[in-house]
């Protein structure tokens, strides 16, 4: 299909998907320009005329980047993220900038300054978060792939809720240049796909070292792997801590089915233990807010964004008024928690302790993989998508929606969500986790499962 035709089609689908509130910026004119640019390319590349939605915390010159925050309302970046530049060079078209939890802080996309995103299968439910807009657009069939970002599960969790593929690469695999910083030791641009192949092709193009991000690892870009015909010779670890007795019955049934499929495909299952994963959520909610408190210090009403002048009119009043009025409740909470755990008298008790816990969590994974396990299999989320409003009054209950995804982020490992069936009509996901820079085997093995999983079938 030509770029021009693809631009028209995706424009129609974006209009039809407006009730989801998944998009913050798009225009047919920009889409047509993207289509024309692709049609003018001599060799459009592996993603020729593929429309891709981009989470609105990844900067692009042509559209605003708001991070779904009032504090960046109207902000247009003077440069484009490396990941987006690489996708465009491979023929992809930026279709839209998508809605998110403000500054990627949330698990339901209810914490957007521009309204919540609705789950495509049930508008009363959330699509997960923080990359809920991107997840919803892929699930609704608007785009075959979309970029999200992960700090602690913000692609895998919404992928699970929406029934799409979500892949988080190893920390350092994809450049963070142009991803608005939240927790810099955790942040990863990640990808949603309708299929593993769509996600793998996008990830492959984005990956590889970038001189503009010193934390990218000097390894060649990821190749798109050939799907494995079966799982013979692979040992899949089942970490007991990720299968609690009170797991949602639909999630438990879906994972039981996946384990059966692993065996039918010739894979070996082995129980393993990741004892420190039990501390992952509390560790994450010290490390991430601490890094966020530092990263978000730059939003001060001086260099960009709207300025609110306080009643006293001096510049501290400008800082305080701009930040107080510009950030929403969840961002303010996290800045306060992050500032508190870093403040004099509390640093050792909280931040240093969390850094040590993080080392123990990462070491558990290292030992599991060294014991001969190739991949780990867990649920992605403890429940299917919950109802809007269900968890907004209690921040900790919202945080626990990420209980199976945050340890992997702390350890910097690659992992993905594979749709694994439905429970009462709602998608349920299985999570596969690989050693650092093991994306190719992860994707190849997952593709063997993808072929045989009836992802839209009821599991119980």
């Amino acid at each position: 299909m030509s770029g021009a035709a693809a631009a028209r089609q995706v424009g129609e689908r974006l209009r039809a998907a407006e009730p989801l509130n998944a998009v913050l910026h798009w225009s047919q004119a920009l889409l047509d320009a993207e289509g024309g640019r692709v049609d003018d390319m001599a060799a459009p590349g592996p993603l020729a005329a593929m429309p891709i939605a981009v989470k609105d915390n990844i900067v692009t010159v042509e559209q605003p980047t708001t991070c779904a925050s009032r504090i960046l309302e109207g902000y247009v970046s003077p440069y484009t993220a490396t990941a987006v530049t690489r996708l465009r060079a491979a023929g992809a078209m930026v279709a839209a900038k998508t809605n998110l939890d403000e500054f990627a802080m949330g698990s339901s996309t209810e914490h957007s300054a521009f309204g919540r995103v609705k789950h495509p299968l049930d508008p009363a439910r959330v699509p997960g978060g923080s990359s809920g807009g991107s997840a919803a657009l892929v699930a609704a069939g608007v785009v075959p792939a979309a970029l999200g970002s992960e700090t602690g599960g913000s692609v895998r969790q919404p992928a699970s809720f929406c029934g799409v593929v979500g892949v988080k690469p190893s920390y350092g695999r994809v450049s963070r240049y142009g991803l608005v910083a939240f927790g810099s030791s955790l942040d990863c641009i990640s990808v949603f796909g309708r299929t593993l192949d769509d996600a793998a092709r996008v990830l492959s193009v984005m990956s590889g070292p970038d001189p503009l991000d010193a934390t990218t690892v000097d390894r060649p870009p990821m190749r798109v792997p050939e799907p494995l015909p079966d799982l013979r010779g692979l040992t899949i670890g089942l970490p007991e801590e990720y299968y609690p007795p009170d797991l949602h019955p639909g999630v438990a049934a879906a994972l039981a089915r996946v384990r059966n499929l692993v065996r039918e495909l010739g894979g070996e299952l082995r129980e393993v233990s990741l004892p420190h994963s039990a501390y992952a959520v509390p560790t994450y909610y010290i490390v991430a807010p601490a890094e966020a408190a530092a990263n978000l210090a730059r939003y001060d009403g001086v260099r960009y964004g709207p300025r609110k002048v306080g009643p006293d009119g001096d510049f501290r009043a400008v800082y305080q008024a701009t930040r107080g009025q510009g950030f929403g409740p969840e961002v303010r909470r996290r800045i306060l928690v992050g500032t508190y755990v870093l403040s004099a008298g509390y640093y050792d008790a909280y931040y240093r302790k969390a850094q040590q816990a993080r080392a123990l969590i990462a070491d558990d994974f290292r030992r599991a993989f060294e014991s001969g396990v190739d991949l780990l299999l867990t649920p992605t989320t403890p429940t299917p998508a919950f109802r809007a409003g269900e968890k907004t009054d209690d921040p900790v209950s919202m945080y626990l929606a990420d209980i199976f995804v945050s340890a992997i982020s702390l350890a910097g490992l690659p992992a993905l969500n594979l749709p694994a069936g439905r429970s009462e009509g709602l998608p349920v996901g299985a999570q596969l986790i690989a050693p650092s820079f093991g994306e190719e085997r992860l994707l190849a093995a997952a593709a063997a499962l993808e072929r045989v999983i009836a992802a839209e079938a009821e599991v119980r």
Binding site: P78, P282, Y285, Q356
Partner: protein, 103 residues
């Protein structure tokens, strides 16, 4: 964390000052309650024995921190003055720093 005390209004005000964040008085009580809930939850880390540990974990390439810091061109589509609320003669303009001038 053994001598942890619960967070009160003063602790929230102090953190808000450090973070340069205006917190309206009417929101304070709710924030006190939410921050206590969060800090009580993360305090479960105190059960984890870590005394023998020295090195914190950092992801990514260890060489990154030692790389030479060489300046290079980063082309921008717009100059800083197009982004800032106020900009003149190469400077970001801000309201007067009242506290400093009074001192």
């Amino acid at each position: 964390m053994g001598e942890r005390v619960s967070i009160g209004r003063d602790e929230v005000r102090h953190a808000a000052r450090l973070a340069e964040l205006a917190v309206p008085e009417e929101e304070l009580e709710r924030l006190v309650s939410q921050l206590n809930r969060i800090v009580d939850y993360v305090a479960q880390l105190e059960r984890l024995p870590t005394e023998q540990m020295a090195e914190p974990f950092l992801p990514g390439p260890t060489a990154a921190a030692l790389r030479e810091d060489l300046p290079g061109p980063v082309p921008l589509a717009y100059p800083p003055e197009a982004l800032a609320p106020e900009f003149a003669d190469g400077f970001f303009l801000v309201p007067r720093h009242g506290a400093m001038e009074d001192a």
